[in-house]
Each structure stands twice: as C-alpha cells, then as structure tokens.
Amino acid sequence: MSDQDLDLPAWSEPFATRNREGLIHIAPLGRVSREVAWGSGDGSGITVAIIDSGVERNHPAVGGRLVRSMRVEVDEEGEPNVVEDVDPIDVVGHGTACAGIIHSLAPAAEFVSIRVLGPDNRGKGAVFAAGLDWAIEQGASVVNLSLSSKSDALFGIFHELADAAYFANVLLVSAANNVPGKSYPSLFASVVSVAAHDVPDPLTYFYNPSPPVEFGAFGLDVDVAWKDGKRIVATGNSFAAPHIAGFAARIRARHPRITPFEVKALLAATADNARDA
C-alpha cells in the first residue's frame, strides 16, 4: 500500500525506520552497556506476572517456568475475585506468546499467569483491574500487560493501581495501543509503555524521549508461541511489551534493589539509540 505519505497518528511512528534517524536519546548520565545493566542476569529470583489470556503450562516455549495460574471470577453481585485456575489454560494463545518471549530473554524468570479472559464478560475492565491489583499485592517483580482499558469509568482505578505498583516496587510494562487515545494504564507516567518497531531483531530496542510511549521493541512478524503447543507469526505492540519485560526481568535479577524508575533509566541508557552527552 502506498500510504507512506499519510500522516498516520500512531504510537509506533517514532520507531519506524523512516523516522529513526531523528530518534536520538542523549543519555544525560552517559550510555550504559548491557553488560553492566544485566550481564549474567538471566531472570533468577524474578517473578513475572502475565495478565492475559492464560499461559499454557506445557508449551515448550515457556520452559516449565509457570509456577502459578490464577483466573478472575465474577460473583453474583458482579464483584471480581481472583481464584486458582484449577485447569490452567490459555483460551487464545496470546498469554503464552508473551510468556514465551520473556522466557527467551530471561530464561530463569518464573511466571504467574492471571487469566482475565474467560466465559463471563461482565465488566471486563473491572476483571482486568482485579487481576492487576492481585499481582501488585503478591509483589510480582515485573507485570506484563499486553492489554489495556479505554473506559473512562476505570481511569481512577487504574491510576490508583499504577501508583500502588510504583510504591510497592512492582514494575508495570504495558503495550501501548496503536492509535493515540485513551488507554489505561499504558499512558500513566510510572508505567513502562511500549510500542513496536520494525527492525527484525528481538535484542534491538529504542528509547523515545517524547512520552507517553517511551520504548520501542520488536513487534513485527514475531514468531511466537500459541495455543495448543503451536507457534504463529504475529504483529502488534502486544509482542513488543514482553521484550522490554524480559530485559527488565534481567535488570532486576542483576540488581535486586533497583526501583522501577531506575529500571526505566537503565533501559533508556542501554537503548540502541542512546548517545553519550
């Protein structure tokens, strides 16, 4: 399609090949090598929560690292409750795809899956919020959120949860939506918000000094794990976020006392477009 001249509003625009020449991050405290940032850190001791469609426990891509599966159940009063998923499944394949990407980067990290997709769709935004609340309370090191809510009614709840996570030392990594517009919690300041770039390399990521979407990671034609032990080729910001979550897990494994804003600063200083001042 000859749409290259279209002025398309999109969060991944700054990371596109044709725009990247201008995407430079002058790291104020200097660039940091990835050796310093995570070195041998492979994610040991780190728990990554995957709030998604579930994670397939026996999928080869997950490497047996799924330690717990939860799901959100809506009771008769419409209140969401987080309960053990006795039959841990991935109803789509998407959560397994995210876990597989993180496992490929941080192979020792453990996963907790919180499935927010299920047969009951009453108040899906509230279900998502309940899952996130639970992950924060459990003290997950990193939470991968390849989903978001556009509901005005949930703005306040997600804002509170993003703050609660930040103060509880829980790093939220959230996929940006494709088109600028309301999207919670991906557009909150404390969240690591990620869009896709078009470089076919999982180890390449960029920092965008113009928020709200600060990171660009691999998300085009990604070979991902999918439902029923399969693999599929998929594209979307959904698959960019788990790449950054994987690097964050390595950073947190290497520097156990590091806080969310320090992780963000390290990610920016190690980005492919970081330059010394």
């Binding site: 399609m1 998604d52 997709l117 769709n121 390849s146 599929i232 080729v233």
Partner: protein, 280 residues
C-alpha cells in the same frame, strides 16, 4: 427540575411539542432504516478498497446474548461472515475485543486449530488477519477485521495503525447513531438526565421513583406513534424510504406522480373548503 408530581412542570404545549419531535424522529428513523449499518458498511467498503483485501468485517458486542455479532462485511470473500456470532473470550476477534489490543496474524492456516472451524463456517480460510478494536468513551464495543491483502503475505505495523484509524471512525459513527436510532431510548435518556433527584426532594417526590416517572413521560410523548390512524402514514413513510434506492429516472417518475397527486389533493381540499363555505 425536581419530580414533584406526575408530569412535573410539563405543560400540555411542551408535551405536544415532544410528541411532534417524537413523530418526526420516528419518521426520520423509518426513512433511513439501518442508518448505522450503512455507515459501518461504508467503513468496511473503504477498508477493503484501501487495503486491497479479500474481506473486511465489523463485529459488535451484543450484551443480551454475550456474543460478538458480525454485522457488516465487504470484499469478495467477506459475505459469509455476516450474522455469525462468536463468544467474546475466544479466538482472535474475542481477544481483540476483550484486551482492546490490535493484532495481526499471518500463517493462520498453518495452525489447523486457530479459528479454523469458524473460518470454514464462513467458507473462507484466510492466510493473514488484522483485527483492531472499535472503542468509544465507555470502552471497546466491537472489532474491525481485515483478511488477506491481495498483494502481500502479511500485514505491517502501518496496516494495523491504518485499520485502527478506520475503526475509530466506525466507533464514532456507532456512538452517534446509537443515540439517534431509537426515539424511546433517546427520550428516556433525556428525561433521566432532567429528573435526577436533587438534595431538596421532599417526601412527595420520593413516592414516585424517577424511573417510573421517566417511563410515564416517555409513554405520554410517544403515545402518538402507535396510534391506529397513523398506520397509513407509516406505510407511506416506509414506501418513500424504499423509493430512496430508486434509479434517477425512476425518481423523476415518482416526483411526477407525486406532483399530480399533490395537485389533486390541493384541488380536493379547495373543493371541500368551498362546500363548507357554501353550506354556511
């Protein structure tokens, strides 16, 4: 405005005006049946043309059945999907609806279990799909799906973004027509807004619930719509609605016929008026 008694502060003239508005709105609704659908159809038509795609379709969430229902489709391979309903927690369309996250998938056929049964029920199994959410201020309301670009094997990031722009247009159009398409719903929402109980409510006001009051007001304002002697009018309105689809030369014929009829009616009225004058 405080609900103090039945039809509070609503004069006969105001009620008559509301009835007239209700009548006109109902007439407009019947003159443009499926106005919302036609906007959606134009979105999928434009999507297919722009992407050079085999098919594009829009599914909207229907709360009463808890299903995503495919409402419109375009493209050579698109029509089989219209009317199909899928659970909102399954498959790619379900995921996009529930997560609000746009996705593209290629090599769909490589995985025999990936929505294969559904795709086969539409008589078309695609190679690649892009699906983006339709969202308004209250959240995601549906999904726009595009299948197979004719000249490329997969969808790019830009395709997802472009599809998202189309989806936003569709969502805006749906939000607008959802309010307009049902006179009763529109009146109910207007009255509900007006009759929010205020702090100064007295005991009398609380004896009638705002909801009951709203129902009564809507019933009063729309009472005309169901009246027997209007059925000829609605039949006429619906015929006019059908004529809108006529070719230009047919329209000219209809206009000529209407001119003759109008002249006849005018003559008839003048004659009746004359008779009345003479009988005095």
């Amino acid at each position: 405005m405080t609900p103090r008694k039945r039809h509070p502060d609503l004069s006969t003239a105001a009620l008559a005006a509301l009835r007239s508005i209700a009548l006109r709105a109902e007439g407009a609704r019947r003159l443009t049946p499926g106005a919302g659908e036609s906007v959606l159809r134009s979105v999928v038509d434009a999507t297919v043309a722009l992407f050079q795609a085999e098919a594009a379709s829009i599914a909207l969430y229907d709360a009463s059945t808890d299903r995503l229902v495919f409402r419109v489709a375009a493209g050579d391979q698109g029509q089989g999907v219209v009317g199909l309903a899928v659970p909102p927690d399954q498959g790619l369309v379900g995921y996009v609806y529930t997560s609000g996250q746009a996705l593209a998938i290629s090599d769909v056929r490589a995985d025999p279990r990936f929505g294969r049964a559904f795709a086969e029920s539409t008589q078309y199994v695609p190679r690649s799909i892009v699906a983006v959410p339709l969202a308004d201020d209250h959240g995601t309301i549906g999904v726009l799906e595009v299948l197979d670009k004719r000249d490329e094997a997969a969808f790019s990031l830009r395709d997802i973004e472009l599809a998202s722009v189309f989806a936003r247009q569709a969502a805006v159009a749906i939000s607008a027509t959802r309010v307009e398409r049902d006179v009763s719903a529109l009146l109910t929402s207007v009255f509900s807004g007006l009759l929010q109980p205020t702090d100064g409510d007295d005991a009398e006001a609380r004896t009638t619930s705002p909801a009951a009051l709203v129902d009564e007001l809507v019933a009063a304002a729309t009472a005309e719509l169901g009246r027997e002697d209007l059925s000829h009018l609605w039949a006429l309105v619906e015929q006019v609605a059908r004529v809108r689809a006529a070719a230009p030369d047919q329209l000219a014929l209809v206009a000529d016929l209407l001119a003759v009829l109008a002249g006849h009616a005018e003559h008839d009225r003048a004659a009746r008026f004359g008779r009345q004058r003479r009988s005095r």
